[in-house]
């Protein structure tokens, strides 16, 4: 029987077994940012340890960085302090740091792929759960805690338990106006927020094969919301074409050699899987959340579920979610008024996200009641969007075009909801209080659906607002 990609990468990176039954796995690439990693340098210092392989760690700043005025010192003294600690630590240990205005700064999961640091067949880790994003390239990419960041800095390895692998096949063809974000929200809705516990997800099938790399990143990004430890897509010609010519990817003969090595990591046709799930891509609707977990989602045409139809604790959780969201059971989600529209994050803050929205909103206006912000995922995305004139289209439509960062995805910078504002958001988490106000409400959706909501002032079907045809 053949091997799947997860097994191949695992075998290649295995250092050896550990006494507690775990395994020591080598990490090919380690990414760090200012929120979860500075503490790890302190832990190293406590034990008088050095960074073992500084050339394999790269740093960026994304979570706390303001998106309006990035001049130093930052207006928030604690943000300034975190930035300074990371900057000093990377200096001291010889780690490359993509500083603001370097041309390479951005959200860690946007930066790695666009520079070509993210490559097939490698192990990647970062003190950030959405490291799963990088799996789009056919690598094993894991979010880790700060103590593990310390382990990787000190040893370039992690202690790990092997995962099971679930293949999720999305078959058929997506309807027009249905995006990668809808696919991932739909999968989470079907399998639940803890359906993936113990698993790596392998996404496959005609719908995934047809996706661009940026779409694949959106899907892998939210693997963690489905409880999976990581998610990946087998590398193919789409992957190789994306990587060719990137800054940190070999060129010429080196690229050809890399490409044939990469192709070898793809799962064998007769590979073993611990589970297989098949989802009909043609049946997926534009999907939005109604509650406070990403699985509390529904198709745009559906009605909000009624807790009384559920049992026990589920019933309580649904009622709590409705109370928090101030929504009514059995009402349509379409028409729910919004206050804020946010397009950005490591899920949907890439160039193609802004391109798709720009195309739709040309000549349209954000509703007067809505505060709309567009936050590019990186300096490169920002530059490319500006070169295409996208930021002008956004600004003319009434969006604020901001500087790159995580921004309102988790609101550790000044971008926050106020009170119980409702935000139509292209990010990945609708947890209570996630967007910076303990009573703030988040409705997750694709960028094009955020744009439709911004223009209508309420949750709406982008296919109607922008006259997208239902089938292509």
């Amino acid at each position: 029987m053949g091997k799947n990609l997860y097994q191949k990468v695992w075998d290649d990176h295995l250092v050896g077994p550990l006494e507690n039954g775990q395994f020591q796995i080598f990490m090919g690439l380690h990414l760090i940012h200012e929120v979860t990693s500075p503490q790890a340098f302190g832990m190293l210092k406590d034990r008088d340890l050095k960074v073992a392989y500084p050339g394999r760690t790269f740093a960026t700043v994304d979570h706390i960085i303001p998106t309006v005025d990035q001049s130093r010192p930052f207006s928030d003294p604690m943000a300034e302090r975190m930035m300074a600690v990371l900057s000093d630590a990377t200096d001291e240990h010889g780690i490359e740091f993509f500083q603001p205005n370097s041309g390479s700064q951005g959200i860690v999961h946007v930066v790695g792929p666009e520079l070509g640091l993210t490559q097939p067949g490698i192990t990647i880790c970062c003190g950030d759960s959405h490291t799963s994003t990088h799996g789009a390239f056919g690598c094993i990419a894991l979010g880790i805690g700060t103590s593990q960041v310390r382990d990787v800095l000190a040893s370039q390895t992690l202690a790990m338990d092997p995962l099971k692998v679930r293949r999720i096949e999305v078959t058929g063809k997506l309807s027009r106006g249905v995006t990668a974000k809808d696919v991932t929200l739909h999968i989470i809705r079907m399998l639940g927020v803890n359906g993936g516990v113990g698993y790596a997800y392998e996404y496959a099938g005609a719908v995934i094969d047809a996706m661009t790399m940026e779409e694949r990143m959106t899907v892998c990004n939210m693997s963690i919301e489905g409880g999976a430890r990581c998610g990946y897509i087998n590398p193919d010609e789409t992957t190789f074409a994306y990587l060719e010519g990137r800054e940190r990817v070999p060129s010429g003969a080196g690229f050809d050699a890399a490409k044939s090595r990469w192709a070898g990591y793809a799962s064998d046709p007769d590979a073993h899987y611990d589970d297989v799930v098949v989802i009909d891509g043609g049946g997926i609707e534009p999907t939005v959340t109604w509650g406070v977990t990403p699985a509390q989602a529904l198709g745009i045409g559906e009605r909000i579920p009624d807790p009384t139809a559920a049992e026990g604790l589920d019933q309580e959780l649904m009622s709590d979610a409705l109370r928090y969201m101030q929504l009514e059971a059995d009402a349509p989600i379409a028409g729910t008024e919004i206050d804020v529209a946010f397009i950005g994050s490591c899920t949907n803050g890439r160039l193609s996200d802004f391109q798709a929205v720009a195309e739709a909103i040309v000549g349209r206006k954000v509703a007067a009641s809505v505060r709309a912000i567009a936050v590019p995922g990186s300096e490169k995305v920002d530059q490319a969007a500006r070169a295409l004139g996208l930021h002008d289209i956004f600004t003319a439509a009434g969006f604020e075009w901001r500087k790159p960062g995580c921004s309102m995805c988790l609101a550790m910078n000044p971008d926050k909801l106020v009170g119980d504002e409702v935000c139509a958001s292209s990010s990945n988490r609708n947890f209570m209080g996630r967007q910076g106000s303990s009573t703030g409400r988040t409705i997750l959706m694709s960028p094009i659906m955020v744009a439709a909501a911004a223009i209508q002032g309420a949750v709406a079907d982008a296919r109607d607002v922008f006259e997208l045809e239902q089938t292509s």
């Binding site: 690439l29 503490q39 759960s129 947890f431 910076g436």
Partner: protein
């Protein structure tokens, strides 16, 4: 037998499925360069309103003050990988977490910090949670070796991830020393892997 294997203390039941790490420690408290000050911020937005006035959360109930064992429901610790969450739980005073299931990154973080995550099936866990409400003063006696616990004269069983249990039994829940021993083997893998580092 080391003192990691037997745990005792009083308990508290924090109800809820899918309690995410944003709820355990809201993002604004992540602005720190050490974990030292996180204890008081645990579950902050559930415990306090926007004016910092207590909402009467179970964690602030006087009868549960000093509890070191938390019981919750399914998928505890999902969401962000922030180690701030287990750190806040530990700094607040928790030493053991019991749930029906745990999110994996959270589970790994807890183990490394020396905080066992015990998996208990629904019926038993419900019974235990109810009992803790009735007897907030009673002591737990937890035996990681036997994978059982005694509370208010009742016996309960739980399971643990093998590697985590092994880690506590051997007293080596922090893997770093063992990882560092393999220095030469690590270098061999680094060399064997045909991809080079990216900095060049």
């Amino acid at each position: 037998m080391n003192d990691l294997v037997k745990r005792s203390g009083r308990g508290v039941y924090v109800q809820g499925n899918d309690i995410d790490t944003d709820r355990i420690i809201p993002a604004r408290f992540l602005k720190c360069v050490t974990f030292d000050e996180l204890g008081p911020a645990l579950f902050y937005d559930e415990r306090f309103d926007t004016q910092d006035v207590s909402k009467g959360h179970i964690l602030d109930a006087p009868v549960h003050r000093g509890a070191s064992i938390m019981i919750s429901d399914t998928n505890f610790g999902c969401g962000s990988s922030r180690e701030h969450a287990p750190q806040a739980l530990q700094k607040f005073g928790f030493e053991v977490i019991i749930a029906e299931s745990f999110a994996e990154i959270f589970h790994g973080n807890c183990t490394t910090l020396g905080m066992p995550c015990l998996v208990m099936e629904k019926t038993q866990r419900k019974a235990l949670a109810a009992l803790v409400g009735l007897h907030p003063d009673a002591e737990f006696l937890i035996d990681l070796q036997a994978q059982n616990l005694t509370f208010a004269n009742e016996q309960f069983s739980f399971t643990m991830k093998d590697s985590a249990r092994e880690a506590f039994l051997s007293g080596r829940f922090d893997p770093l020393d063992e990882l560092l021993v393999a220095k030469d083997a690590i270098q061999a893998v680094a060399v064997r892997l045909s991809y080079s580092d990216h900095s060049g």
